[in-house]
Symmetry: D2
Subunit: 355 residues, 4 copies
């Protein structure tokens, strides 16, 4: 069995990791650290885990690094700024590190420091870290020791745009206008497990609102993701507007694009189906089936629908995922599977929960 540690398992991505890894046939969660809850069983904080896992939060103090170095894989389900403190020591000890926060998502130090308002502890690792969307960077991930697990919104935007950008690359002709609008919507769990008035049920339920209107940290990440895909001279710019939906899990991105004349000629349904034909977790819906977030609830699948309104030259790409699974913990496990040479679907190939 592969020995796994989770640093900081008291948030939603943490408990989701515990849930997913508890049924993974090839790994064992041997260490779960938390300073604030040391000595407490995880199932005391999350009674849903009773009968599933008897792991106890531990705080090893100065010995933590030693203990982590004995594991094969370490997941950081911590706030931004924690993984960067230990990533170097761990990777040098041969441990594979997957950070679910933002420490290793942005390759540009300038952008990281601007958007996250903190200094980076190991900027020299930024370039070698792999931005972990397996369907984009599978080959790099096979040899990766350090993975920045993507933000939830960027995962939907990048996978929703990839077949288009690649088609544009292939034709070396502009198929879509420069301007990309990502009007995205997320369930409340995306804001994390925290005591915050704005997240109180009586404030959030029966309500809808945008947030981050003047700028959101996932914007540079989406732009970077697009730039990774771009191989042509055609740049793109993104307007990203996230909204909060009164639901627990689920993310829905409505991507609005304008087609050029060359773009209008493409059969986009076919292009998407071809692009993702071999991807188990990416599902291009056939014409006539609208995506909804519940169709991926609690699963690692991401579903996409494409609509081409020819008269108006509008291409609409609709993308759904579970923000805590494909948008966080599930993708982290998928990354781990790739890094370890496992079948990529191991521990992840379960059905969504409907209703």
């Amino acid at each position: 069995m592969i020995s796994v540690a989770i640093v900081g398992g008291t948030g939603y991505t943490g408990v989701e990791l515990i849930r997913l890894l508890s049924s993974h046939p090839k790994v064992s969660v041997d260490l779960l650290t938390s300073r604030s809850h040391a000595g407490t069983r995880a199932d005391q904080i999350f009674p849903s885990l009773r009968g599933i896992s008897d792991i106890v939060f531990s705080d090893l103090g100065d010995d933590t690094l030693n203990a982590l170095q004995k594991c094969d894989v370490v997941f950081f389900a911590t706030p931004h700024g924690v993984a960067m403190q230990q990533a170097e020591a761990l990777t040098q000890a041969g441990v594979k590190v997957i950070d679910l926060a933002a420490d290793f998502r942005l390759q540009s130090l300038v952008e990281f420091e601007q958007w996250y308002q903190q200094q980076h502890a190991c900027p020299e690792l930024l370039k070698s870290a792999v931005y972990g969307i397996p369907e984009v960077s599978r080959d790099k991930l096979r040899n990766a020791n350090l993975v920045g697990n993507p933000g939830c919104y960027p995962t939907t935007a990048i996978l929703g745009l990839k077949p288009i950008i690649e088609a544009q690359n292939a034709k070396n002709t502009r198929l879509i206008d420069e301007r990309i609008i990502v009007d995205a919507k997320s369930g409340v769990s995306g804001a994390g497990r925290q005591a915050k008035l704005a997240l109180n049920y009586a404030e959030t339920s029966d309500n809808f609102e945008a947030y981050g209107v003047t700028g959101h940290r996932h914007l540079p990440e989406i732009e970077q993701g697009i730039n990774i895909l771009l191989e042509s001279q055609f740049t793109q710019r993104v307007r990203f507007l996230p909204h909060l939906v009164p639901m627990i899990r689920g993310m829905y991105s409505s991507i609005h694009l304008e087609l050029t004349d060359a773009g209008k000629a493409v059969d986009w349904q076919q292009a998407f189906e071809d692009s993702y034909a071999d991807e188990v977790f990416l599902d291009v819906l056939p014409t006539g089936i609208y995506p909804d977030t519940r169709s991926v609830r609690a699963s690692n699948r991401l579903r996409i629908a494409v609509y081409q309104n020819n008269d108006r030259a509008e291409l609409t790409v609709l993308v759904v995922q579970d923000n805590l699974v494909k948008g966080a913990a599930g993708q982290a496990v998928q990354n781990m599977n790739v890094m370890l040479g496992f079948d990529e679907t191991l521990g992840l190939n379960f059905a969504p929960i409907v209703p």
Copy 2:
């Protein structure tokens, strides 16, 4: 115009008071105090008030008492323990005081100190304070200077039991068994406007649970309310179990009673209808219409249905109200109307919001 002050208007009962009083034809909210938000317009915290009220939170420091004494009526929409500090000075100055917290609900000092874990600042006022359910204590309220506005749960329990207790008094025969079970359910706004993990949407939504299982502060209040009504030798005891419902507003109390042979002979539908025939805000539903909380949403009405399963000698009383209106701010305004000799429905006779 009657001059009104609200002390502590940043909670849900506070904003509901502002909403209700903003359309009351005979009062003017002249003072709104808050230490934490002094200088801030109320509509900055509650944008729903934009265009409705331009009042500003103020903190007058040592002059607060002076300012309050110039008002005709002062509402305390504060945590427990605040109203008791100023009630004496205000009532002595001729100001009518209505406390929406628990300082003047329990007439027994012992019970207050046991359940609220604090000393009472003016125990001598406890006996003269009126427990403010107009449909129970209208006459006393007319001359009251100090009113303890009831808790939300007790309002439903007491009004749901009153016709039964009174029938038992009138016949001087036991009609129901000693044991009363109040299985009650509340929307999340009942927990107040606070940053608390347990109230986070992702924790509360799509979930149901009991709380206060080993004891809840509203139990002694319900028992006191019943004792006020009791005029016979027949005592009652109450098992009170509250639950949290994933909805914003609304309270539903299911009261389970066992009838004696004498009780079985009563036509309880008729008894309830007769008992509340003259009450504008109390609605005894005809047979065949089940109560639901939305039928009173955002209104001051309380609806009751009675079911007599004869074979099983079971009487079920179902009571619904909006916990923030008839269960809090609406009842406070109703109390004010009675205290000031106004038409009791002034500012309160609006329709519930459905859907």
Copy 3:
């Protein structure tokens, strides 16, 4: 008192009309017709109305038209295709008609028949009917006998775009790109009061999805609304994508626009504030306050925020309203007030319900 009739009051706009008109000081609802519920009290179907209104649904058969002709104002809260059958006879009898369905929204017969798939019974009235957004067409409404009450989505889109279109007219220079994206979101009550699997709580809750992706009837209405405002040579085209939010009431439109160089120079916050300075029901939020749908819940207000991301030349207009009030019944009452020469806010100037 003005005598009012409501044709078809068993839907959500119908019950909302009853609620609103029950507290209107100058009108009396004297007739409420329904074929399916004739003889039934409205408060039997909507127990929320108990104590508010004792009106009874009636079906007068052949005498219906006679009875309606004796009223001053007739509201049609019916499906599409009903109002057109009686509009002519009623207006000729001097009755003012307000249709909450789509019979008199589109001035183009071709568009009506294309989008609603039915023949129009009185196409000659289409041109004289006034499209009823008071803040756009107040003067026409004063003399109107027949009003097409707007769809909910178009109300948000048109009022969210009006200051921009008018600024463009005034400068006779293109300020925004031709392409307008209206990414809109609605609560479930917008789908009407109907038994439909797709609207079942277990299907709709904890879920988010787009619908009408390939075309929605509100698109031609939005385009017509924009064209009414256009006085320059600059045409616009609209991509409209509606989504369903798991909430009861509320509508949120995110309007994405690209600014020209001339457009970048405008202070849009100021432009919007100036444009709506005299409008009681239109609230331009100050910088820093995000709109949310609950801030207008159950009220006739519509709030707007404008964001100008200069670097990216993006103008984002966010608009919220209650789809059943400003988006339907409230606007209908507002239209009636204008048509009758009343104070426009009569019966409508109440506070939103928060929480």
Copy 4:
């Protein structure tokens, strides 16, 4: 592989069976019948199944019975009255039959016909059918050919009462009063996958109500379940009151009991823990952890908490389960595992979904 058929898979219990069986290591769903959806892939109706199952609904007409007889196990996820038509022919052919509807729940023909208002097609099978709660009737299930899968409410009530009834049996002394009150609450999925106005999101959300107040079909089933356990002279009677909670899944039963003096002396926490010590799916929560429905969401676990308020002689038993899993499809699979001699947890030992 064991060959399994599901008759009628278009409801919520049907899709849940497909979900659960899709990951069961020892069975294969070979036949899925539906008259209304014959020829349609299941994942077209339930897109959540895309990538999970490619099974197609079939209608074999007269050959249906033949085809079912070739399977090892047949689940009926149909309305009441269907399984009884085929149970005899199937069991005689050696097929194991599990009915998720009510045809084989009640052993009394009189009660069945009274509560379900239809004649029974094979009353002679009622006595041999096993009422399938494994934790109650495991031994009988091992040899059963025909299982009536319990209703959701009865499962919580019977398992919540079993340790008490058995303790009373063992002591041959009355420990609880005769009267048992089951105040139960269910999520909306319990009402089934149907187009019904009362289940419309706008009717159900932000609302709470009781239903079946004058009688519910699960009452005789609860009483029968208690009678099966009773081995003493002490009879019990039940007041059962179900309520509808605005949540998709989840069931919460609050059981109110009054203790006799002998009952007060029992350590009920210990009694429950002892009683269920060997049950994987039954979890007696330690003191201090309240049950909530999300702690079992989408899982086959049922959690119980016991509270003994000594002064008041009140015993409160709180029981939670997922109504579609332990309350329906999960228990059916558990029953199948027992009937086939499999490890009882096969395919069912997964973690609940939190948040």
